[in-house]
Symmetry: C2
Subunit: 81 residues, 2 copies
Amino acid sequence: MEIKQAFGVILRCYRKKANYSQEKLAFDCNLDRTYISLLERGKRRPTLDTIFTISRALKVSPSALVTDVEKLLVNKNSSLS
Amino acid sequence: MEIKQAFGVILRCYRKKANYSQEKLAFDCNLDRTYISLLERGKRRPTLDTIFTISRALKVSPSALVTDVEKLLVNKNSSLS
């Protein structure tokens, strides 16, 4: 699993937990709804700025999000080897 | 202080702690030495992939790096207000 894919999974998970639509998250972040969708599908590589912006909107810390990406990568990639 | 500037400060701090030159870090990351220099001077916005690559080379976790960026931003930006 690639980093951008793991990020997409975690982003979707946090967004759903916050009960936000892609539209609402995009609006709060001043980003395009399509870009949120691409991120969630692992089609774009987020910058640190984007991670901070999205984290703020979802009321989580950027490092919590990155920690979950790390964990997912460890789990997915170790179960494949 | 902007996110990219905070990242640059933290990156330089971790690199020096590891006793790595920009050249060595760039070589280990398969990145250009100039790009490391631009990141450290806050002139480029790192992607999550770059943060993972650099963290691996410096033997720290990506989330530890991001946590330090968060802390620096809180400190710098609260002392300015």
